[in-house]
Symmetry: C2
Subunit: 296 residues, 2 copies
């Protein structure tokens, strides 16, 4: 915080983007505990601790919290919105931010469209009113479960896309992978009770396309490194950043097993990341499934 405050720039994660003069920087979570509106942009593994410290003692009514992390709490596979519901006082408006929005581009005013998911539409529209600009367009979706599921699982498909890239496969391969990836994500989401149309929105196809093709995607990069033979831990060490997709791979398979849903791509990603399976073999098995009718 001291470094960023002195430089008015995050030189590690967002070099070249000057922070607005009105932005105050602090490491004091007591300040957050007194704020009516919070945006929590910390990794999934730190969400509960930070939320607990920022929650404060007051009433929840009138307070609103927006979560920018995409994934499940490691170990408990709890959705981020449920972590916030548990930590903040009852009545707090809980929302999540999703959609294709790499910070490297948002920070440079490159046109970006995002979606705020919240069960209560008034909570979603409050964040829309607060954050919407001509370059940062905010849509709303009351299918919170669908938005969170799509946002989390696309990181797993992005690792698979990175493996694809790392093996030297092409644009044709990636188009097919994303098609099956979206089907896999929406299959799990619908089994959990999410609405199909959410997966064809910004949190679904939108973020999937961007995460699977962008040079900014950390999850895709981890897949590329895995294709070169690095383990999950080695790949994370190399990129030096959190990669939510790794933990999401574990969580998604557990959730899918509970609901009797098959996730063929996620299973192969897990085998590569955690069981030392050869990436080429994993991709070959994915591609090698029997040809069948797509729509009969």
């Amino acid at each position: 915080v001291r470094e960023v405050a002195a430089a008015r720039e995050n030189r590690v994660y967002l070099p070249g983007v000057r922070l607005p003069a009105e932005l105050e920087l602090t490491a004091d979570l007591q300040l957050a505990a007194r704020c009516e509106i919070l945006v929590l942009a910390v990794p999934t593994g730190a969400q509960r601790e930070v939320a607990g410290a920022a929650a404060g003692q007051g009433r929840g009514e009138g307070r609103r919290v927006l979560c920018a992390a995409k994934g499940y709490e490691p170990g408990t596979r709890t959705r981020m919105s449920a972590v916030l519901e548990a930590e903040f006082p009852a009545g707090t408006g809980i929302a999540v931010l999703a959609g294709p929005s790499h910070a490297e581009e948002v920070g440079r005013d490159i046109p970006t469209s995002v979606v705020v998911g919240a069960v209560r539409e008034s909570v979603a529209t409050a964040f829309q009113d607060l954050l919407h600009t001509s370059a940062f367009r905010v849509y709303t979706n009351t299918d919170l479960l669908g938005v969170e599921t799509a946002a989390a699982l696309k990181n797993v498909i992005a690792i698979a896309a990175g493996i694809c890239d790392g093996l030297g496969f092409g644009d044709n391969t990636k188009g097919a992978l994303l098609t099956r990836g979206l089907a896999e994500i929406s299959r799990l989401g619908e089994a959990l009770g999410a609405r199909p149309e959410t997966f064809f929105g910004l949190a679904g196809i939108g973020d999937l396309v961007t995460t699977c093709t962008s040079s900014h995607s950390r999850n895709r990069r981890v897949g590329e490194l895995a294709a070169q033979g690095l383990s999950a831990a080695e790949a994370v060490a190399r990129t030096g950043q959190a990669c939510e997709g790794i933990e999401t791979t574990r969580s998604a398979l557990e959730i899918a097993a509970e609901h009797g849903v098959e996730l063929p791509i996620t299973e192969q990603v897990a085998a590569v990341l955690f069981a030392g399976k050869a990436p080429a073999q994993a991709l070959a098995e994915l591609m090698g499934r029997d040809a069948k009718p797509e729509v009969r």
Copy 2:
């Protein structure tokens, strides 16, 4: 044909890919007229003439024709399958090939998944049996109308994606554009009677992703050149290849008008290509539509 036959390579369009020794090259369409199985890979504008010459006089039963062109007949906006139905004897099995399959990659055995659309499932599976290999995976879909609509319209969205790239926009912008592009394509398709799930298959999202992100995509390239201020004709002259998306833009708008469907992206592409609208203005108007609920 003489040049390709001598070199055993198409040095203009597919340099570096050696043609199989068993492939016989000829410009004699009388030979085609005697073939039981035909693959017609000519531009949409040449489809009727070539089909007519290749149709022959015999019975249609037992003959099968697969069309690789994506788009509508210029001027009449007739679907390719309908052109073939009209030109070939009654009973001929008509099918179309779609999905993410740039020839530059297929020719190098890069893993590719495609879909054969045909009203009669037996026709689709016959081509599946004929063409399916470990690197070229063929799925089937009996929603021929949906496959053709998706395959055609994705080229228009690819021009928009190229405009986006040419203006220096980013991966976030493209993710949002593709989300809206797929919604636009499926809205028209469903109005025509196509099945929604087709647009989330290989001919829909699969080909859309690949065409909008690949360096091999001619339609995307035309959009990039349009963003630099070239007219449609100038852009085509520069790329030196057919760009089906230009004619499809006209056809799609006419078909949409007949069915009372709005195509906002296609309208802006048309304004840029045919009416000299500034690309930045077109993109701004697209992005500038009112923010609203994505799913309520």
